[in-house]
């Protein structure tokens, strides 16, 4: 998963973190994954706001929502909150 760990001489002093967590993919945590029916979706963006992992993105250039399965943990909040029942949790 990670490359060889660094020695005490190689790391900056005082433990300043040097990798953004976006390099740590949590997508493999999920058992169920959210699947969206774009026909039912009203683009209310509630799922984008409520996702604890920021794994649902609003793409203004596409005027649409995209799921980032690299980070989705399959909690099901998006499916539960969707006012138009557009999201179903399906077994991975």
């Amino acid at each position: 998963m990670t490359s060889r760990e660094k020695s005490w001489k190689e790391i900056s002093p005082a433990g300043v973190c040097w990798k953004p967590s976006t390099q740590f993919l949590t997508g493999d945590w999920k058992t169920y994954k959210p699947v969206r029916d774009p026909a039912k979706c009203t683009r209310c963006l509630l799922c984008v706001l409520f996702c604890p992992d920021g794994a649902i993105h609003w793409k203004p250039e596409k005027a649409d929502i995209e799921f980032d399965y690299d980070f989705c943990k399959g909690c099901g909040i998006c499916a539960n909150e969707c006012p138009s029942d557009a999201i179903q949790m399906k077994l991975e």
């Binding site: 790391i11 433990g15 973190c17 040097w18 990798k19 953004p20 967590s21 976006t22 390099q23 740590f24 993919l25 949590t26 945590w29 999920k30 209310c44 963006l45 509630l46 984008v48 706001l49 409520f50 996702c51 604890p52 992992d53 920021g54 794994a55 993105h57 609003w58 203004p60 980032d68 690299d70 980070f71 943990k73 399959g74 909690c75 099901g76 909040i77 499916a79 539960n80 909150e81 949790m89």
Partner: protein, 326 residues
């Protein structure tokens, strides 16, 4: 007190996340949602300090970090003390011409441990001294990071590992400490409660807390599916039910003047819409024992306590419950 900032869901959705994906919070963690939304509410350069707890640990496992802002963690009880140090350092360094930014906001984040209990001294002191910072309590109602032990914020009747529901004792016997009211009693400029389900109200309050000159305190309701033994998919729903049952009413106190927030106002004006507390409790495993014959009387007690607190709050807000229709 109003903020001039107007925003839509799209505006919020388009703002880049300053609390990055890839943190190690549990699936369905409402505090994680809370933190994401807080960071969407920042208005400019911001420094964040975090007390030890779930969100701190989940977001800063060396060498990874989920913070796109400058961020420091020191200890469990020190969120407000850190914020004090950062705030005065910024002031004096600006005076000495060593900081180029016009304004840097300071936000202190802590869970219920770092706020109600071990952190209350530093919080009270920082507020008394009038430092200009926002303190946000993400309340998951127990010491979750160390394994779900009871805190001053754990509600009456909840089962935690140190207030277990057993054959002799029905969970926690003490009431939830009214932390937000305690902060109002500090005569501080801004105190508010919020719930992630009501995201507009929440984000607006964060922004107000940042904008106010002086200390601000925000108490945010943040369900923990792991500790509450609830369905991870229902964390936001629980934060809605808590408001609908008036277990966690939403209000603001600007210079000590209480005002009920819009999401809670409907239940003051139309009390028949208020949902029974039972509906909220039955979704959580930590209250499961209350649905057994031995302890079911406690459900009534909880309903009465909730109603009493709600009525007290209404009085403070200058709204009384309309008399029951005859």
């Amino acid at each position: 007190m109003q903020t001039e900032w107007k925003f839509t869901a799209k505006d919020i959705a388009e703002k880049p996340d300053l609390f990055l994906s890839g943190h190690r919070a549990c699936a369905g963690c409402a505090p994680a949602t809370v933190l994401r939304l807080i960071m969407k509410a920042v208005r400019g350069p911001t420094i964040v300090t975090n007390a030890t707890g779930c969100m701190e640990v989940a977001s800063s496992i060396y060498p990874y970090t989920s913070w796109a802002t400058p961020w420091i963690h020191t200890a469990f009880e020190t969120a407000a003390a850190n914020a004090s140090g950062i705030e005065i350092a910024l002031k004096i360094l600006k005076k000495k011409g060593r900081i180029k930014q016009e304004q840097i906001d300071v936000i202190a984040l802590a869970g219920d441990g770092g706020t109600y209990d071990i952190g209350i001294q530093a919080l009270s002191g920082a507020v008394e001294r009038g430092h200009d910072f926002l303190f946000v309590l993400y309340d998951n109602e127990a010491y979750m990071n160390t394994g779900i032990q009871r805190s001053g914020g754990t509600p009456f009747g909840a089962s935690t590992t140190t207030s277990q529901a057993g054959t002799a004792v029905p969970g926690k016997l003490e009431q939830k400490k009214p932390i937000a009211d305690i902060m109002v009693a500090h005569d501080m400029p801004y105190v508010a409660t919020a719930s992630p389900n009501y995201w507009q109200d929440f984000i607006k309050k964060v922004r107000k807390g940042i904008e106010v000159n002086g200390p601000a305190f925000l108490h945010v309701f943040a369900p923990c599916p792991r500790g509450w033994r609830s369905d991870p998919a229902k964390s936001i729903e629980l934060s809605r039910l808590a408001v609908e049952t008036c277990v966690f009413p939403l209000w603001e106190a600007v210079d000590g003047e209480y005002q009920l927030s819009i999401p809670s106002r409907v239940f003051a004006l139309a009390p028949q819409k208020k949902k029974p507390v039972k509906e909220y409790l039955e979704m959580q495993g930590r209250f499961r024992h209350l649905f057994t014959p031995k302890y079911e009387k406690i459900l009534d007690e909880i309903q009465q306590i909730t109603d009493a607190k709600w009525n007290k709050l209404l009085k403070k807000c200058g709204m009384t419950q309309p008399a029951k229709a005859t």
